[in-house]
């Protein structure tokens, strides 16, 4: 079982017993994924994306006891999200749209990219907290070296090399390679 699946199985079990913290963790674990499918995969408006986003998590919460294979939570959430997005598009266009008929607006296939991005996101959880935060701040929040350095009390002049080392480590994790030389204090 993958590391993600092990975490999910444990979280779902805790959610079933009414553990609110576990539910919050489960939401945080998949919120980016659901958001990306709505926004990048189907390019829904903000209002429609928010409705689908909440619909997805209602369904997850309501069906916690019915999910047969906890380990496949991501696949299930992805499927529910795509179906609800298609329902939204169908309602807006008042014409049938099936998953087969629908064409991703991005020639590189936006949905496939979201899945790859989610794989990368899961691997980021395996990095040191420092590394994950540096990559998150630089690539997702678009922060400058100075801002990152200031926030993490790291000399700004070392941020570029840290980013490079963290990406290298991430690539190794994705390739399933054994650990190589550890970047100092970052893995």
């Amino acid at each position: 079982m993958s590391a993600e699946a092990e975490v999910v199985v444990s979280l779902v079990a805790r959610c079933r017993s009414g553990d609110q913290d576990a539910w919050a963790q489960l939401v945080r674990m998949y919120s980016r994924y659901v958001f990306a499918i709505c926004q990048q995969g189907f390019r829904l408006s903000d209002a429609d994306a928010e409705d689908v986003f909440q619909d997805v998590f209602v369904r997850v919460y309501e069906h916690l006891n019915d999910i047969r294979d906890d380990a496949s939570m991501r696949a299930w959430i992805g499927q529910v999200t795509r179906r609800l997005c298609l329902d939204r598009l169908r309602a807006a266009k008042r014409s049938p749209v099936t998953e087969d008929e629908w064409e991703a607006p991005d020639p590189d296939d936006a949905l496939e990219r979201v899945e790859l991005a989610m794989d990368v996101d899961r691997m980021m959880a395996e990095l040191s907290e420092n590394c994950a935060e540096i990559l998150d701040r630089f690539f997702r929040r678009d922060e400058s070296y100075a801002v990152i350095g200031n926030a993490l009390s790291i000399p700004a002049g070392t941020i570029a090399s840290r980013i490079s080392r963290c990406l290298r480590r991430l690539r190794e994790l994705l390739e399933g390679r054994p650990k190589s030389t550890q970047p100092s204090g970052e893995t």
């Binding site: 958001f35 928010e50 209602v58 989610m118 290298r168």
Partner: protein, 88 residues
């Protein structure tokens, strides 16, 4: 010329950037789903005893929720829609 490593790292950077955080208030509302679920139960209980309210709930969810004293945010609307669908 770019090395394979540099290309891989650029690609990784793009994939990291492709998964931004969901808006904080959306995530917070989803985390608070159990509370919205309880509010949805209250709304549905009201609809069971008031046919007019039930009809309004189906026709205009937002207005019906306001009439019942609830802020019709997307999380509550989703919880009520799901409950309504379950009972149909």
């Amino acid at each position: 010329m770019m090395s394979d490593n540099e290309m891989d790292e650029r690609m990784l950077g793009r994939l990291i950037a492709a998964l931004p955080a969901a808006p904080e208030n959306w995530e917070r509302a989803a985390i608070e789903m159990p509370a919205f679920r309880r509010a949805a139960e209250h709304v549905l209980a009201l609809a069971e005893t008031d046919a007019e309210f039930h009809a309004e709930l189906v026709a205009d969810l937002e207005a019906a929720l306001r009439r019942a004293g609830h802020e019709p945010n997307p999380a509550l609307r989703a919880a009520v829609r799901h409950r309504l669908a379950d009972r149909q």
